[in-house]
Amino acid sequence: MRGYHDIGGLEAGPLHKSQHDYALWEKRVDAMLVLLSSKKLITTDELRLGIETLGADAYERLSYYERWIASISRALVARGVITTDELGRRMADAGRRARDSA
């Protein structure tokens, strides 16, 4: 079966060549991957597998760095670096901070 990400040779429509700045959170996700890789807590291949198993719907819906952080989170739980409980609590805290500052 062809993976939904494995699109070489398929009709892909026009290319969007517009440039855009990265949001702060996107830069942080990028930095996080560099740090985790340097500490040997994740490999590029784990990152890719996580993205390739998000499911076709989520893959289409999520932006580039949203795919990354979804995959990084899953890999770190699988390796026992963080727990789902810790992750859930920190996500709730971040949500509260975002609402308070809005």
Partner: protein
């Protein structure tokens, strides 16, 4: 591992569809190519993807394919080629 193939060898990409993280593009499976160079040996990305160490390292080859053979309706020049880096376990001798 010592490389099984050397530059100039004719190889076929296996028509295999295992689950997991695969570095061999879907579109090239089943096609014939020529080994252009041996790139060295590297940890197996299919194993690394699951958090294992990927050892023993596997030989990686740059394999050259003819565009016209890969894409029957290819509109470019006859001699155009595409090079793809492929791990040894995906290749068979023609």
């Amino acid at each position: 591992m010592n490389p099984r193939f050397k530059p100039g060898d004719a190889v076929t990409v296996r028509r295999a569809y295992p689950p997991g993280h695969l570095r061999t593009p879907h579109y090239i499976r089943g096609h014939h190519g020529i080994v252009e160079r041996v790139c060295g040996s590297f940890a197996n990305p299919e194993e690394l993807a699951f958090g294992r160490n990927g050892l023993p390292a596997l030989p990686l080859y740059r394999v050259r394919f003819t565009q016209r053979q890969v894409w029957p309706d290819y509109a470019g020049a006859d001699g155009d080629t595409v090079d793809i880096e492929i791990y040894e376990h995906w290749l068979e001798r023609v």
